[in-house]
Symmetry: C2
């Protein structure tokens, strides 16, 4: 039974190196609003939500408002109905006004929900992906919040889909344990880097064996083209180049600017406009085909993903592990994506997102999407050293996690050093 919760404000001063710079966020300090749940038997559950620095304190305060809602929750209740985790955390009608199911309160929901899943996976002695992969279709469906989705998918049709994908599950699991999940890299193309750095990093990416590289766009058009030219020179035309505009454009401009970059053959254009604009993405998708529209890292909840898919607005679903309300809501989006035939390529990077999304992509492959066609998991080589169970990469693949839990735990010494504002990293 869960008996305690502590929340901490952890910030890494990444803005000093312009890591993570893009058209909307020139200087993020990658941060985690971090929660540790404790149970009466000594078990712990770790979870966090990712932010870009200022405002992380709001997510910590929201965790403090939500954590009492899982006090007294017993893992046997969770085993009987994993949907109870999401219902508990989101079920306060007064707190609902603050969203509903979006923004600070939903980011904090992710931290608390994920911490309960982490505790549950530890209790079972399994990595989270394995806990979920071992669900029967019936158990899986119980974990999913179907509210507001039933015009697209309901428990009955979801169960049919999962039963259909049951064939080959063991083989896909063995494949994941052997080869891991394919990744692409974003480390080469941040906006804040110089042309020389971009060329060097693109060259290194090729040397390291990456077949898929992402760059940031949304600066002055001639600079975007110049940077794309440099990267294409290094990676050739046979590798995939993804582009990410980080929401800087209005709909007409997104179409115009994407078409102007056509000669560099972008595989997808990510976040071409406001993440909230399902109809705008649909208009862009129609105009820029065969270039795909990708979005998700700012997509607030399952209702928005439903609409993006109903409107044929996205060719790539970049679900985020902490923007949505934790594992339960991510499972809902995996089902929607499979139902609509949209490949899932989770948003990753930041701090700790890679640690979480590797579990989600593996679950998607084994249980839901059941294909690797067009599936790639973002990889950014930052801050993994602070985790007790960090990602392990081999040949451009994420190796399947083996330790029990959701890989969400930050080392105790890192928590102390980077706690804001009192930690050593911030006092100096």
């Amino acid at each position: 039974m869960i008996t305690g919760a502590t929340a901490r404000d952890i910030r890494f001063p990444t803005s000093q190196g312009l890591h993570g710079s893009d058209a909307m966020t020139p200087d993020p300090d990658y941060s985690a609003a971090y929660v540790t749940l404790t149970a009466d038997d000594g078990l712990e559950g770790h979870g966090f939500t990712f932010t870009e620095g200022r405002g992380n304190e709001l997510c910590v305060a929201a965790i403090e408002a939500l954590a009492p809602r899982v006090q007294g929750l017993d893992l046997d209740e969770v085993r009987a109905d994993p949907g109870e985790i999401f219902r508990r955390v989101t079920g306060d009608p007064q707190l609902r006004w603050l969203g509903p199911e979006k923004g600070v309160i939903h980011l904090a929901t992710a931290a608390v929900v994920n911490a309960v899943w982490d505790m549950w996976a530890r209790a079972e002695g399994k990595p989270l992906w394995r806990l979920v992969a071992d669900f029967t279709p019936e158990q899986f469906v119980k974990a999913v919040p179907f509210q507001y989705l039933t015009d697209a998918i309901d428990p009955g049709s979801a169960r049919e889909l999962l039963e259909e994908r049951d064939a080959g599950k063991d083989e896909r699991r063995a494949e994941m344990e052997r080869d891991g999940f394919p990744a692409y890299t974003t480390s080469a193309g941040w906006l804040g880097y110089t042309e020389e750095e971009i060329r060097r990093l693109a060259r290194e990416a090729v040397a390291e064996g990456w077949n898929d590289v992402k760059m940031k766009v949304g600066g002055p058009p001639d600079e975007d083209a110049r940077r794309a030219q440099i990267i294409r020179e290094e990676i050739g035309m046979e590798r995939r180049l993804m582009m990410d505009a980080n929401q800087v454009w209005d709909v007409p401009e997104a179409i115009e600017k994407t078409l102007a970059l056509r000669e560099f053959e972008p595989y997808w254009m990510e976040e071409p406009t406001s993440p909230d604009d399902a109809l705008g993405h649909a208009a862009i998708a129609e105009a820029i085909a065969p270039i795909k529209v990708a979005t998700g890292e700012h997509c607030m909840n399952r209702v928005l993903f439903k609409q993006l898919m109903q409107a044929n607005a996205i060719g790539v679903c970049q679900v985020d592990a902490c923007r949505l309300g934790g594992v339960n809501e991510v499972l809902a989006v995996l089902l929607l994506a499979a139902h609509f035939g949209v490949p899932v390529c989770p948003h990753s990077g930041g701090v700790g997102l890679c640690e979480l999304t590797q579990h989600l992509s593996i679950v998607d492959y084994i249980c839901v999407g059941a294909s690797l066609d067009g599936r790639l998991l973002e990889y950014v080589d930052h801050l993994h050293e602070h985790f007790t169970d960090p990602v392990r990469m081999r040949g451009g693949h994420y190796l399947a996690p083996e330790q029990p839990g959701y890989s969400a735990q930050i080392k105790a010494e890192s928590l102390d050093e980077f706690e804001f504002p009192g930690g050593a990293a911030w006092r100096s």
Copy 2:
């Protein structure tokens, strides 16, 4: 020049009387995250965002994160470009991650933005509606954040629309100063009331001269029908009866349940499903016509309103004064509504929302929508006594405010009494 800001957590224990109870929120404590800005010349600006109790502290903390962004802002800068208010408050790239433009950070944006407008209107010695009504079309357009809207309306087309509506502006202003703005009442039909209370309140509403009454639905179908029956018995079929489901239904259920209430001739069905679901509202609107779909109090930003209108999903735009990012973003939605021909009937009630929305409806009538056809402003008779410039009602109309400012100021003694958790109202 703005030199100081204080934020306070103000909560009214309304849950004790089941005022405001609906299908999603059985027991709200109407609350305000309240900000007072001060200028070096002694001028003050008051603003707040409305919440339902728990979590109000998150909005207070978000105000504290945002208020430093207007420190040093001079009213002459605002006069030269009123869009600067919105850009300043929303322009922190790290804080943007927490929305963007939604949830806690956007609720707090409303408080700070509205406080600057309140200060500006006080400086001009005008009620806010008059400050805006006196704008030239050029000044009006400068105040509006067009980002992400230009596929529907851009500064050029907005200016044309405003210039076209310039004819008759003086007459409409005189009409507002003489007659005020027409209202409807929600005080009769809360879910928590007994059938006897509902009958008595509906009878009183008729006796008081109300022609339009709203009730809450979304409970068990036979109870909804029973309550509608009672209200129709009291108000007759010639008055308008609006219904509000407060998001309890999925899309197929919303259609079924609304059609089951058809015999009571609802004028609109409000919040039939998730506020985020533009496509879902479009499907409902098509299925339940000629009953109109109304939504807005939970609509997070102008991008969602744009889609609701592009998709013909709403017949009534219930913009909220504090859910959107303050006056600037509301003006954007008024323009969208006029462009798409959707009547604006702002969400109101709560604490202080009536005080704000009366200004917005009057601005809409004088400058933008320029019609009273299908326009009604919600009125709820709660908590007005705590304001220094409370609404004044006459014959089912809001009288045009006359005091300088945005009518947002809560009395000093009320702030002290209802401050949470230290005020006298909470200590007992």
